[in-house]
Structure formats: structure tokens, C-alpha cells
Amino acid sequence: MAENIIVYGLVWSGVYALLAIGFSLIFGVARIVNLAHTAFYMLAAYLIFHLNTAAGLNVYLSVFLAIIIVTITGTLSYRLIIARIRQHESTTLIVTIALAVIFQEAVLKGFGGTFVSGPKLISGKTGIFGVGVLNQHLLTFGVVLLLLLATWAFLMKTRTGVAIRATAQDREVANLMGINVPGMEMITMAISAALAAIAGALVAPLGVLTPGMWMHPLIMILAVVVLGGLGSLKGSLIGAFILGFSEILVVFLAPSGSFLKTSVALTIMLIVIMIRPEGLFGIVFEEERG
């Protein structure tokens, strides 16, 4: 029981962290609430499955292709659709939801609604402290750690990363300093979609795929970013671990836990933001200049 809680808690917290950081990045840089974010994750998982089984490609090749395709789809949908209506906040919400529904229905139409499970990347078990852990779980957690570190290094150490952070802090001043603001937003969107796609690749072998699988992670990452504080990557990471573990704890320990897992996670989020309205590590954004 305890080992299951730890393994599943780490795996799912990691997946939520990847998704939440991508969501948080694009919100911080372009102020876009991209409700289609987890639809990219669903799309990637399905693409991997179908490239692997229907097209008969190698697992690794199909993962690679799926990540590329989803990144391009995400960037294009930002460039062609979201960027045009982003100054209308509520319209952006609806348009991104419409996008998510379009992806869902396209997947349903193209790949069918039957429950499928993705191909395992690696098989076997490893003993850690006398507990057998699936290698797939270890891989998932390892990739999550690696990606989080890579994202952090990219944002902190490279010139582009600094430019992205500058854009997030103040668009206008960033623009005055010669930073290509729309370009930075495109890059951020690509990174965000790629992170979602990789999360999808990690989840595909773990459970069943359904076209509606984007809904639950969407709720969770919304709760995660609010809990951690909008625009704060550290907050998203810690929030993902708090909510991921609370979900797994409820599932394993509470009666009829699988019904209550979302309720408990959301209640924790509500309690935290009632005490700290800007989340755990939230930055209070300066009022946008008109």
C-alpha cells in the first residue's frame, strides 16, 4: 500500500507538474489561459498509439514523431487562432475550449472511441528497497525530473530563456529592449505544447486512452497553478506534488475514494487560496499598462 502510494503519487505528480509548468509558462508570458493545453496531451498519447499500432512504426520513432506533430499543431493553433483574439479574455477561454473539443471529436472520429492502451516503452521491474517498481514508472519519473531541470536551465541560463522571462515580467519594456515579443510568445507556446506532448507520451503506456482524457488533468492543472500561484514555476511544481499526492492518498485510503479524489484536491486548493489569495508562490502582477 505505502509503496503504491509513493510510486503512483510520484508518477502522477510528475505528469501534473509537466502539464502545469507548460500551462503556467504560456500564461505568464502571453497571459493566455489555454484550456486546450491538456488536449495536446491527449492528442500526443493517441498519435503514439496509432503510429505504433496502425502505421507499424517503432515505439521510439512514433513517440518522437508524435511530439513533433503536437508541437507544430500547438504552435499553429496559437499563431492562426488564439493570437488573433487574445485581447478578449472571455473569448480566449471559449476559443481554447472549442479547440479542445475539436481535437477530442477529431480523435473520436479518426481513431474511434474504444479504450486503448499505449505501447510500453520499456518492460520489467526493478527492486528498490525490496519493492518491485515497474521500469515504466521509473522511466516516467526520470524523464519528468530531467525535463524539469532542462526547462529550469533553459529559462535561467540561456539568452532566449532570459528574454522569455523578461517578456513575462513586462511586455512593453521587453519590447523596448529589443526583444522580439511575438517571437518569444511563439517559442513559449512551442515549449508548452511540447511539454504537454511529452506528458502524453509518458501517460500513454500507463493507463487507458479515451478521447475525453484531457478533462480531468485540465481540472487538476488549473487547481495546481492556482494553488502554486499563477505564473510561478516553483509554485506549479510544488502544487503539482501536493495535489498529485493528495489525490493518490484519497484513492488508496478513503472509502469510495475514486469519486472523492477530485473533491479533496479541489478543497485543498480552495482552502489555500482563501488564506493566501495569490497562491503559495504567486506574484502579484502589476496592472497591465493600456
Binding site: E89, V95, I97, A98, E105, A106, M215, L260, L270, M274
Partner: protein, 350 residues
């Protein structure tokens, strides 16, 4: 006789001066009249059912607009009002056998209470934080409802809720006029001093407070009023369809925002028109007349919403209104776009 003619001339003046001067109001009146006599043309049951549900959702979408469109407090979990009222009405009816005329107001009161429960903690939050916090409430309730099936009847919802009336046509004549009356009341509220204060809170809360407006009280009022109307819609829905988990789902919360934004927010009539365009389109036109397979309707629906909002980001009805009407710069009254002078104060229109 004299009294009658006075009333008639007053009636005529009202219609001539307030309704027939604007094509939009004339169209709205004609559409209402058409939908009022529509059941007399003996349509099939399915069409009536779609129109009844559209009326219920129209009340619901307009109530979202009253809260989120006017005060700018974006509510992502509006289904909580709908679901709480539907479950209250349904459970009272099923367990205690109360009639719809009693259960619907009690359900609406429960939704008002819910408005207070959501409103008080959410007063400290703003913008995106508020939107995501409100998202949590219906989902928390949904989890609780599914976890205690012996009280709430779990996944399937309440087994049997009495219908509003005996026949479909009678139900139509209860629901549709109540939609018009409630919509009119909401429009009047939005047009009154309260509505003006709601506007002020959306535009600039700090300035509103500096002008001596108790913004806390008015925001709570917005939550309660919106809850009241959404609750009435929820009660009607429970007695027409049923009270089940679908009344609290995330998709319903999103759906109401889609309708409202599609029609145009901060107008009340926009969301109502949005529902009456999109809901029958999705349920009747696409499947019945165009022969689109059922699994594609959602895709086409999403595409229509996407395309319309790409070209009219303010919403369809707002776009139409701005094309056909001008606002007088002096007295702020609506005028037909073809006029060069205001119809009341004769100020030059630009």
C-alpha cells in the same frame, strides 16, 4: 370607453416609440410572438422538447451574464447553481412529494444560499484566480454526490421527478413565458442603477469603491441574484428532464459560457439569443435537416463557435447591434444606424 381609448393610445405610443423604432426590438418581439404561437402549428414532440430545454438554458445563460458579463466576476462553475437547485427540487419532490410550484422556489433559494457560500470566500479573489476557484465548487459537489449514492442516487440521478404539467404543450406554455418574464426582469435589473454599479465594478473596482460604492455588498448581490435565476432554471430542468450528475458537470459550466460569449456578454439578450441559435442548431438543424452524423455535430458546433468568434470577438448579437444601431452621444439612447439625428433629443449622431 374613454378609459379604453386612453390605454390603447398609451399602448400604441409605447410600441411606436420604444419598440418599432428599432429593428432589433421589432425582430425580438416578432420572434417571441412566433415562438408563443408555435405549438399551435402542431409541431412534433421533439422540436417542442428542444425549445423547452433551450428556454431553460436561456434563463441559465442570462443569469451567468448577469454575474460574469456585468460585474466581470468570471464564474467558471456556474453549473453549481443549476445543479444545487435541480437536486434540491428533485429530492424534495421525490422524497416528500412536494409539487413543482413549491420545489422550484425552494431550489432557487438553495441556489441563492450557494451564491452566498461561493460569494463570501471568493470576494478576496479576482480575475483568473476567481475563475478557477469557482470552477472547483460544482466538481466538489459532484464528487460528494457520487460518493453517497444512498442519499443522492449517484450516477443515475434521482429516479423519478414529477413533470411540470401533463402535456408537452402545457409545459412549453409554462417554461417559455417564464423565460421571457425572467429574461425581461434580468434585463431591467441590468438596466437599473444596480446594473450601472455592476458595470462600474467590472470596469474599475478601485474607482467604484472610491466613489462610495460598497463593492463587497454589490458583488455578493450579483452572486445571489445570479444564483436565484440560475436556480429557477435548474428547478425547471429537474422537473422537465431529471436531476442527475449531468447538471453539475464541467461541460455544462463551459457550455453556458460558450452560449453567453457567442451571443455577446453584458447584454442579457445576447446569451438568450446565443442559446436559441446554438442549441436548436446543434440538436435539430444539423442532425435532422442536414443529415450530419451525430458524432460530427459536436465538431461542427465547435467550428461554428470558433469561426464566429474569430471574426466577431465581441459576440454575434453585439456585432449585429453595433452594425445596425448607434448610441446617441448626448442621451445614450439606441438609434437606427441610418438616422443622422437622435430620435429623442435630436442631437447629431456621428
Amino acid at each position: 370607453m374613454n378609459v379604453l381609448s386612453t390605454y390603447l393610445s398609451r399602448f400604441y405610443k409605447f410600441f411606436g416609440g420604444e419598440i418599432f423604432v428599432l429593428p432589433s426590438r421589432t425582430t425580438a418581439l416578432l420572434l417571441c410572438l412566433f415562438l408563443l404561437i408555435f405549438p399551435l402549428t402542431s409541431p412534433n414532440d421533439f422540436t417542442l422538447r428542444v425549445l423547452i430545454i433551450a428556454s431553460i438554458y436561456a434563463i441559465f445563460a442570462a443569469s451567468w451574464d448577469l454575474l460574469s458579463g456585468f460585474t466581470g466576476q468570471i464564474n467558471f462553475g456556474h453549473a453549481v447553481f443549476f445543479g444545487v437547485a435541480a437536486y434540491t427540487a428533485g429530492l424534495l419532490n421525490y422524497n416528500l412529494g412536494l409539487a413543482p410550484w413549491a420545489t422550484i422556489p425552494i431550489g432557487a433559494l438553495a441556489a441563492v444560499l450557494m451564491g452566498l457560500i461561493i460569494g463570501i470566500p471568493c470576494l478576496r479573489l479576482r480575475g483568473t484566480y476567481l475563475a478557477f476557484a469557482t470552477l472547483a465548487f460544482p466538481l466538489i459537489l459532484l464528487g460528494i454526490i457520487q460518493a453517497i449514492p444512498n442519499i443522492t442516487y449517484g450516477e443515475l440521478g434521482i429516479p423519478r421527478v414529477d413533470p411540470l404539467a401533463g402535456s408537452r404543450v402545457a409545459i412549453y406554455y409554462i417554461v417559455f413565458p417564464s423565460m421571457i418574464v425572467l429574461g425581461f426582469i434580468m434585463w431591467k435589473i441590468a438596466d437599473s442603477k444596480i446594473g450601472l454599479i455592476f458595470h462600474a465594478i467590472r470596469e474599475d473596482e478601485v474607482t467604484a469603491r472610491a466613489s462610495g460604492i460598497n463593492t463587497t455588498r454589490y458583488k455578493l448581490l450579483a452572486f445571489c441574484l445570479s444564483g436565484l435565476f440560475a436556480g429557477i432554471a435548474g428547478g425547471l430542468y429537474a422537473h422537465f428532464v431529471n436531476a442527475g450528475p449531468s447538471t453539475l458537470e464541467l461541460l455544462l459550466s463551459f457550455q453556458v459560457i460558450i452560449w453567453a460569449v457567442f451571443g455577446g456578454i453584458a447584454t442579457i439578450y445576447g446569451p438568450i439569443a446565443g442559446v436559441f441559435i446554438l442549441y436548436p442548431l446543434q440538436k435539430i438543424v444539423l442532425t435532422r435537416y442536414l443529415g450530419v452524423p451525430a458524432e460530427l455535430t459536436m465538431l461542427i458546433f465547435a467550428f461554428i463557435v470558433l469561426i464566429v468568434l474569430l471574426f466577431m470577438p465581441q459576440g454575434l448579437i453585439t456585432w449585429l447591434r453595433d452594425k445596425t444601431e448607434k448610441i446617441c452621444p448626448r442621451c445614450k439612447l439606441q438609434n437606427v444606424a441610418t438616422r443622422s439625428k437622435c430620435r429623442v433629443c435630436t442631437a447629431e449622431l456621428d
